[in-house]
């Protein structure tokens, strides 16, 4: 057996008469030749995670290092596997919505919207105008908070602490709005098939308007802090780059795909919720490195802010409009009617006991989530529980490209590359 590791002198070095240390760790002073041979000749295995702050959750990476260069990267996932897809097969369609909160828990409202849209597509339901606008607001608020978490944590990974505080401060304002709307900060369960759990409370628009007015200033400050920062540029430009062909080949989506120069945004290319009627731009990168991913996400927040402003304008014209479809098969009658009207009571009973029943068939509904294309593939056999509920998890698929991006880079770049993928382990493991 060869000597693999260098014994480190644990004791504090003693000092000789001249004040120099008598023992220097790592064999530097002793110059014993086998130490140096050893360091170069053998590869080292480094285990990062699953409990490591820079892996953004319970991701475990096994790295094979030659010196400081990563020769191989083997990700291990599944530590947070909860079996949501299996659980969904035992639940009514509306009961699945709380499960979607817990997949990508950094953008729960957007997940809720995706699930409701999938079931509505199977049932060919036409949503009300106000519902669509409110769902757009929910999606874009989710995009902003998710990107803010990404921005803050990535900054911390690369040694910048201040933007983390700025972004979490802004994020807090959206969380307060979420709380005022749904009663929950994280497990929002906002949507129901055919509509929403609740309309926004009185005066809520003013809070969001206040946010959209002041948020660009924070983005401007982040831009000042990062975009031309020498350390930031040095750590991100040219690191973890993927070409457009590679990005498509790896089925990447969202900012990861667009940073590589592929102009694919589900909101533009397969529009839902009338996104085609909103005026916004899709930022596209050029080099596909971490810096481009940062630029894309930063610009996406600006564009989301634009969409929010337009949606608020539309909302002011839809005061008092219904948020639910008027279909008793899918929407609960008001409790007062259910207690006094026979027909309403029957619908209420069937809704609660049996749930929504889409016709036999299947649908794939993809929406543009902050992490990428979130797809819900649902197969119904006409009963109130799905035969199959498949989540197309954007961060799972984006993470699969991690070994390719890491191999050949430095160990410290692995942290930056992993941060740039923007994973959330609740969704990777489901």
């Amino acid at each position: 057996m060869t000597l693999r590791t260098v014994e480190m002198a644990l004791a504090t070095p003693g000092l000789d008469a001249a004040g120099f240390p008598t023992r220097v760790p790592l064999g530097v002073a002793g110059d014993e030749p086998h130490y140096r041979e050893d360091l170069g000749a053998e590869r080292m295995l480094v285990n990062i995670g699953p409990q490591h702050p820079a892996t953004h959750g319970v991701l475990r990476l096994v790295l094979e290092l030659e010196g400081e260069t990563v020769k191989r990267c083997i990700p291990h996932i599944g530590y947070l596997h909860s079996g949501f897809e299996k659980l969904g097969e035992y639940r009514h369609y509306n009961q699945i919505i709380p499960l979607t909160d817990r997949t990508d828990y950094l953008s729960p409202m957007a997940n809720n919207v995706g699930l409701a849209l999938a079931v509505e597509a199977m049932m060919s339901l036409e949503l009300t105008e106000r519902c669509k606008v409110l769902r757009v607001i929910a999606c874009e608020m989710s995009r902003i908070i998710s990107h803010l978490v990404w921005l803050g944590t990535t900054g911390i990974d690369l040694g910048a602490f201040t933007p983390f505080l700025w972004s979490f401060q802004e994020r807090e304002r959206i969380y307060n709005l979420q709380e005022a709307w749904t009663g929950a900060r994280l497990t929002t369960s906002l949507t129901r098939v055919g509509g929403l759990m609740a309309d926004i409370p009185d005066g809520w628009e003013a809070g969001l308007r206040d946010f959209t007015n002041t948020f660009p200033k924070t983005l401007q400050e982040v831009d000042t802090m990062f975009t031309r920062n020498a350390i930031w540029i040095g750590r991100t430009q040219g690191v973890g780059a993927l070409s457009a062909e590679e990005a498509i080949n790896y089925s990447l989506s969202g900012p990861m795909l667009r940073a590589s120069g592929v102009d694919y945004d589900v909101r533009k290319d397969r529009p839902y919720l009338d996104y085609e009627t909103y005026d916004f731009d899709v930022p596209v990168g050029e080099y596909g490195d971490i810096y481009d991913r940062y630029r894309v996400r930063l610009e996406e927040m600006t564009q989301s802010n634009r969409i929010l402003e337009q949606a608020l304008d539309r909302l002011s014209r839809l005061q008092g409009a219904p948020i639910n479809v008027s279909d008793p098969r899918v929407v609960l009658p008001p409790k007062s009617r259910a207690m006094s009207d026979m027909e309403a009571m029957i619908f209420h009973f069937k809704q609660v006991m049996e749930g929504v029943k889409p016709p036999a068939g299947e649908v794939y509904m993809g929406i543009e989530n902050p992490k990428g294309e979130l797809g819900y593939y649902m197969v119904s056999d006409g009963t109130s529980k799905p035969v199959r509920w498949r989540i197309r998890p954007p961060s799972f698929i984006n993470l699969a490209s991690l070994p390719t991006m890491c191999e050949g880079s430095l160990l410290s770049d692995v942290i930056a590359i992993n941060a740039s993928v923007d994973i959330v382990m609740g969704e990777v493991d489901r």
Binding site: M1, T2, R4, E42, R43, M44, L45, V62, E64, R72, I74, I77, G78, H81, G83, E85, K86, L87, Y90, A121, M122, S124, E246, I248, N249, Y250, S251, L252, V262, Y264, D269, R270, G361, E362, V363, Y364, G366, E373, G375, Y377, V379, D381, V387, R388, R390, R392, F396, I397, L399, A400, S401, T404, D429, R430
Partner: protein, 205 residues
């Protein structure tokens, strides 16, 4: 309601009987292709001008509640240039081993997606270079969680699950490959080496 994708007639004229049937559900086109030609069909769809389904959105599988019905492997394809979608399904008879050609060579994105289908449904993707469990641990011995004959709480009792977790070989958290590249196998205690040599790594290998 969107109608049938023009790719289906093109597929039929190219592959004939290998395209078993097609249907439109919720406005989305689904084409069933035979297991033997699935790789050819997917490669043709990716590379033929006019089809150009260059983006593999998703690979998954469906098992129906009717036990007689075959298990289906589902490929969700997209053409980024043409902005068109197509779903290809391969029906696998459950009385014979569940096997289908891997599309790893066409799309690297299929790597983890196929591993997940293998992990959850037990479908073997022939030609996949690294077909291991991905969400469940490598020594997981209860079967394939998303199969309909798999109970919601698992095959093993809670007591058995706890017993197995406590008795697990800690070195099994590393694959044999990882242990070998660290040259760590020789440094393990004798009893662990013996346990690894006996193959106490679960039923897969």
């Amino acid at each position: 309601m969107k109608s049938l994708s023009p790719s289906v007639p093109a597929l039929r004229s190219e592959f004939g009987a290998a395209v078993e049937r097609h249907q439109v559900s919720s406005g989305q086109t689904i084409a069933y292709v035979s297991r033997d030609r699935s790789h050819d069909v997917l490669a043709w769809l990716r590379d033929t001008p006019g089809q150009e389904y260059n983006y593999l959105t998703d690979v998954t599988a469906v098992e129906y509640r009717d036990p007689e019905r075959p298990l289906e492997v589902v490929y969700q394809l997209r053409s980024l240039g043409r902005k068109a979608d197509l779903r290809i399904k391969v029906a696998l008879d459950k009385r014979v081993p569940l096997e289908v050609r891997s599309v790893y060579d066409l799309w690297r994105g299929a790597d983890w997606l196929e591993r997940e289908v293998f992990d959850m449904f037990g479908v073997t993707f022939v030609g996949h270079p690294d077909l291991r469990r991905i969400l469940m641990w490598e020594t997981y011995a209860e079967g394939f969680p998303l199969r309909k004959d798999f109970p919601l709480r698992g095959h093993f009792s809670r007591a058995e699950q706890t017993r197995q977790a406590l008795a697990a070989n800690p070195e099994a958290h590393y694959s044999l490959e990882e242990l070998s590249l660290a040259d760590a196998y020789g440094e393990l205690p004798k009893d662990m080496q013996e346990r690894l040599a006996r193959g106490e790594r679960g039923f897969l290998k």
